[in-house]
């Protein structure tokens, strides 16, 4: 089963989005149909919707390991990142800090508020020495003090995991008043969030990355953190995020996250095995560079660079074979941009042109992996042969 009934697709783009879980679809249906009330209302009909949102919040808090009052439902992972970073800067007046390999949802926010963008280590994690130096150089108060440090738990392109425990030790010692935010959008499927939450003050998730619907995000905000709301209005979510609740989406999100959490330990092992099979298969073509070693990567991402290949051409040939894959992020026109993550890691631009991300998830099967190996090996061989003419 690969989640698509009508077409014979090999879907290996779970880091872009995941197929919704059946349980999540079932959970949201009543709220798309009969239970349409606004949970902020005061009648009995509204109270039923309110209860659904409250229960969803409890379920999410349980998976994150925080208290329900620390959960804020947002419209996307991007909104969570924007809220955490720009909200702290607005409230404290301090500077924002992140690494050059962050998702644009973080990077563009930090750039927007004139923050510090730091280099990374060879695996794309924030360089802890540079982080320490940056924090030490900053004063404890005033406009040049550090307001927020944002460090992704898992890189969306490469799957590289950052040790948030180590990051937090650097931040707590050198900038004890700074808010530590993590974009954990790519972590939910693979890392126990209860292990991540103790290290940070804010944590952003996106429902569609773990079998939930698009258009719902979660931002966990540790009680007392100085984060101004990003969306103002009717004061929903305890004044932290206004806007009528997306009840159906929130309910489905909670179910998807709950199921993801329950299956995580088992799935991580199953998918890691599939990923190793995949990478071993791809290595047949030779001159393949695995970007992140297995012990530093989440199980769901196989990121490789093929020397002498242009991934635009490779993705076209894979698409012809029904294999859904990706490379770096696309710009507004749909054109592929050279990866800023690989650039930050110091990967040579010519090699980065041959980058391919195959990302696996809860619906990925051995058959998907076998098909992908065949398709990629044949496409890469063809392109190399064509280039050698």
């Amino acid at each position: 089963m690969n989640g698509t009934a009508s077409e014979n697709l090999v879907y290996l783009d779970h880091a872009a989005t995941t197929p919704m879980r059946e349980s999540a679809i079932a959970a949201m249906m009543p709220f798309l149909a009969g239970e349409y009330a606004n949970p902020s209302g005061s009648h009995r009909f509204a109270r039923r919707a309110r209860q659904a949102v409250d229960e969803a919040r409890d379920m999410v808090a349980d998976v994150v390991g925080c208290s329900p009052g620390e959960i804020v439902f947002t419209g996307s992972g991007t909104e969570g990142d924007n809220t955490a970073i720009r909200g702290v800067v607005e409230r404290t007046g301090g500077r924002a800090v992140c690494s050059a390999a962050e998702h644009h949802a973080v990077l563009h926010c930090v750039e927007h508020v004139g923050g510090h963008v730091l280099g990374t280590d060879a695996w794309g994690s924030i360089d802890l020495d540079r982080l320490a130096a940056c924090l030490e150089d900053a004063p404890d108060s005033g406009p040049d003090s550090i307001g927020v440090v944002s460090v992704m738990a898992v890189n969306n392109e490469t799957g590289s995991v950052t040790d948030l425990d180590a990051v937090s030790r650097v931040v707590r010692r050198r900038a004890p008043r700074a808010v530590l935010h993590t974009d954990a959008v790519q972590a939910a499927c693979w890392l126990d969030l209860r292990d991540q939450w103790p290290h940070v003050d804010a944590l952003a998730l996106s429902a569609h990355k773990f079998g939930g619907p698009k258009g719902v995000g979660i931002l966990a905000i540790r009680a007392g953190s100085p984060i101004a709301p990003f969306v103002l209005g009717g004061g929903q979510e305890r004044d932290r995020r206004s806007g009528t609740h997306n009840v159906a989406g929130i309910v489905a999100t909670a179910v998807a996250l709950h199921d993801t959490d329950r299956e995580r330990a088992h799935e991580a092992i199953r998918v890691a095995e599939l990923r190793e099979t995949l990478i071993a298969g791809l290595s047949q073509v030779g001159d393949v560079h695995r970007t992140i070693p297995a012990d530093r990567s989440v199980p769901g991402v196989a990121h490789v660079c093929f020397a002498g290949i242009e991934n635009e051409a490779l993705l076209y040939l894979l698409d012809e074979q029904g294999v859904c894959a990706s490379a770096a992020s696309a710009c507004a026109s749909g054109a592929m941009e050279p990866s800023h993550v690989l650039a930050a890691m110091g990967v040579e631009r010519s090699l980065a042109h041959g980058a391919l991300r195959l990302s696996l998830g809860h619906t990925t099967t051995e058959a998907d992996v076998d098909s992908a190996i065949t398709a990629v090996v044949s496409a890469v061989s063809h392109l190399r042969q064509a280039a050698g003419r």
């Binding site: 051409a313 076209y316 040939l317 696309a330 026109s333 749909g334 054109a335 592929m336 064509a386 280039a387």
Partner: protein, 357 residues
Amino acid sequence: MKILVAMSGGVDSSVAAALLKEDGHDVVGVTLRLWGGESDSGCCSVSDVDDARRVAQQLGIDHLVFNFSDDFQRSVVDPYVHDHARGVTPNPCIECNRHLKFDRLFERADVLGFDAVATGHHARVEFIEGVWRLLRGHDGAKDQSYVVHVLDQRRLARCLFPVGTMTKAEVRRHAERLGLRTAHKPDSQDVCFITSSGGRADFLRRRIELHPAEVVDQNGQALGEVDSVELVTLGQRRGVAGGGGTKRFVVDVDVASRRVVVGDESELLVDHEIGADPVWTDGEFEGDVLVQCSAHGEPRRGRVSRSSHAGTDRVVVAWDRPQRRVSPGQSLVFYDPIGDWVIGGATVTSSDRRSTS
């Protein structure tokens, strides 16, 4: 045939794709992302990509975007800037066709298994007596054979210009009939990476230092100044005329010594031009030709021959009667004197002018 159609988001390439689809070909549309900077016309703004994609969706064909911005910067923008810095006025659209559309895109189409590449240019390709001929488009006012003259036999054999046999009015009518959103879209006019607000001066000023220059007459008599010698083009009249009632033309631009010489129109007349890096649609040629010196310029009669003293990669065009000089960097495109087909072309050089006059 499996055909890759370059779709700029304009009406010509929209209809080109539609016609090929109607003919039953396996058509895939592609929009090239060439310029990542500021733009207000041209063919790679997001709204133009949107138009191309929506037309492709309406036609029921796949639509791709290829990011060739690195190559565009290297092959078109950098040389454009560099040429201006040395007083040469290049034609970036020709360089884009040469390096991007008819080289990089062809190469990509090749490896992806396409049989042919199509564009919305107003030109024609016909197979006549064993030779692929590049001919003028049927709409004389819109003919673009000048800017696509860089094609050779190998490329011409696999290149399609579906709207080349139509007038622009017919193209728009066809788009209207199909209800394509691009039916009434205005033609793009200018260089895609130059904005109308800032213009060429603004673009260049942000990349190279522009220098003021002295304007003198033929006798070295100072007449005034210009702000940027790099922006002055041979034959130009505006902005350098100085006072008095006489029409003065730029007859020499010396960037190194920052001097612009103006003079009478007759000073611009020459009996030949030298072209560098000639390209040929069907192999090297010597003989009588019609020569077009700008996108829609009046063709001149002349004779093209290999240059004996200007070097191996040069050609000499001897005019039938004296003609105004062509600015260095512009393309000379050679047409058959009676057949209306393109023989080849070359780029006017700045060097060797005095030594060979």
